[in-house]
């Protein structure tokens, strides 16, 4: 973990309430996809945890959804600097993925899969991606994943684009050695039930500190109590209590 001041480079909406922010700063502590940063915002006591979408040298890309006053304030920042804690969380383990892992993301669960896909491809693996959204207007990053050379399946709950239904409706018939999943808990549970291989899930929980000190975000697993912020946010399918 490191505390660093980042400079905001860009901050643009991808959809009506999802924003992409790129910053420049010391990213040396970000060692794995699926990790997050914790952002200090003037006028708010607690930091805002945001998962890392992409890192390239000293350029950090974050994608976040405006859900409250904090993220609303973030969405209004076009320049200036931000105090970030970087290198938080365990992140995804790509060593166990096998040759053709499947990445499954829903809504703002999609961003961390982007850096993960890059990593897997750089390891010579063949990554397929399922991206789930509610409706066409909420879709983002489909082209970015295609740009990496991934096979991409998009689902929309209302059928306004791609496969009608949920990410699980795209699973049928797909061959994969392993899976990585990030999204809302109901989606995680559905994927848990409908996947044949082993895999890893990224979880969300209200955090106090984000680095394991306050026990605010603990959960029970088959391998004991885990702090989502430090022992997670990524948990293996085998340790989840569902």
């Amino acid at each position: 973990m490191k505390q660093t001041i980042f400079e905001i480079e860009k901050n643009n909406p991808l959809t009506e309430n999802v924003y992409e922010m790129t910053l420049r700063g010391d990213c040396s502590e970000i060692t794995r996809p699926g990790q997050f940063v914790n952002i200090c915002l003037d006028g708010f006591y607690l930091r805002r945890p945001i998962s890392v979408c992409d890192v390239c040298g000293d350029r950090l890309t974050l994608i976040y959804k405006v859900v409250g006053k904090g993220t609303e304030k973030m969405s209004q920042m076009s320049s200036g600097s931000l105090d970030l804690l970087t290198g938080l969380g365990n992140g995804y383990d790509t060593s166990v993925s096998g040759g053709s892992p499947l990445l499954i993301g829903g809504g703002v669960g999609v961003p961390p899969l982007y850096l993960l896909a890059k990593k897997l491809l750089s390891e010579g693996k063949k990554a397929a991606v399922i991206l789930g959204f509610n409706t066409k207007s909420e879709i983002f990053y489909e082209d970015k994943f295609r740009g990496l050379g991934c096979e991409v399946f998009v689902t929309t709950a209302d059928g306004s684009y791609g496969i009608k239904g949920f990410v699980t409706d795209a699973l049928a018939g797909l061959e994969y050695t392993y899976f990585y999943c990030c999204g809302p808990e109901p989606m995680l549970k559905a994927v848990y039930k409908n996947t044949t291989s082993s895999g890893q899930f990224s979880f969300e929980e209200r955090m106090g500190c984000g680095f394991g000190a306050c026990m605010g975000c603990s959960c029970e697993t088959l391998t004991g109590y885990k702090r989502i912020c430090r022992d997670g946010p990524v948990l293996k399918k085998e340790e989840i209590k569902w």
Binding site: Y45, C214, S218, Y225
Partner: protein
């Protein structure tokens, strides 16, 4: 050259800065960030007789200049603390540590304190009779002078190390509770624990915390903490450890002027993991700015 050392219940510490229980774990997450031996000491995670997961999540919520927590004393239980956590802690912290203890009965308090009293690493026992987030026990001991005195008496009989009773601010007259602890033989009191608070989710129309209520901490509570430290310092002769919203070296000086012999830093460690390191670094300059050569000289100067 200013002198930051103070003496807490007969034990001299290099400075009065003490990370508060529940915001610093057993120290090793922070030892990765800085050498925690610069601290006066720290109070480790509240220890119960049996292991506890604590309350269901969400157990954190944000407020103006503060936060609510309803963790509910998650800890591995006193035996595992002694067999696993303290040895790990010892690798990164060589000073005496403050052992924070919570119970659901007088017998619990006595048992846990006796076990921790036997540990070399422990310099003080901080007996928490004020946790707002556990049901049956916890805060209930801290809201009546009689039960507070009983806990103090029973624990003191069982241990050799200094006993500091951690008090609840959710009472009509905290000085009365402090006096009862003193009468029970306590070597000190620490305050304030968190103020009971609540937030509601406007979308779900349910409390933000699964536990309904939680403990408020952060700069929002600082003026209440200063007032209660002042009232207790006036009421008792034993040392008062001040805490509640302390976020800067100047806050530390204000707490000490109000009567605090040492100062615990809580929520601020969570939003700035380097808070205690920074406060310790800023203390000498702050002392010079206000003409303070030795910290122990200003304890209670405003009384």
């Amino acid at each position: 050259m200013v002198n930051t050392s103070v003496t807490l219940c007969g034990v001299e510490i290099d400075n009065p800065i003490i990370p508060a229980s529940g915001t610093f774990g057993y120290g090793y997450e922070f030892a990765e960030l800085y050498d925690i031996n610069i601290l006066g000491t720290f109070s480790f995670k509240g220890t119960t007789r049996e292991p506890r997961f604590g309350n269901p999540t969400p157990r954190i919520a944000e407020t103006a200049s503060g936060m609510l927590n309803a963790v509910g004393l998650q800890n591995p239980g006193v035996e595992k603390v002694i067999s696993e956590e303290l040895p790990k802690m010892r690798k990164v912290f060589s000073k005496k540590v403050m052992a924070n203890v919570s119970g659901f009965s007088i017998d619990d308090y006595v048992y846990i304190c006796r076990r921790l009293d036997e540990c070399d690493e422990v310099g003080w026992l901080e007996v928490n009779i004020s946790c707002p987030n556990v049901h049956g026990g916890g805060m209930s001991f801290g809201t009546s002078p009689k039960s507070a005195e009983e806990v103090a008496k029973a624990v003191k009989k069982a241990v050799k190390k200094p006993v500091i009773i951690k008090l609840s601010p959710n009472v009509t007259d905290i000085a009365e509770i402090a006096k009862a602890c003193e009468a029970g033989g306590a070597d000190g009191v620490s305050l304030i624990n968190t103020l009971l608070g609540m937030r509601i989710n406007l979308r779900t129309r349910r409390p933000l915390l699964k536990n309904t209520t939680g403990g408020l901490s952060g700069p929002a509570v600082f003026p209440v903490a200063v007032r209660m430290v002042y009232q207790c310092a006036k009421a008792v002769k034993i040392p008062v450890v001040g805490m509640g919203g302390v976020a800067s070296a100047e806050d530390v000086l204000e707490m000490m002027l109000a009567g605090a012999t040492a100062v615990e830093v809580g929520a601020q460690n969570l939003v700035n993991p380097f808070a205690c390191r920074d406060i310790i670094a800023e203390l000498p300059e702050a002392m010079e700015k206000y003409g303070i050569s030795s910290l122990r000289d200003i304890v209670g100067a405003a009384l």
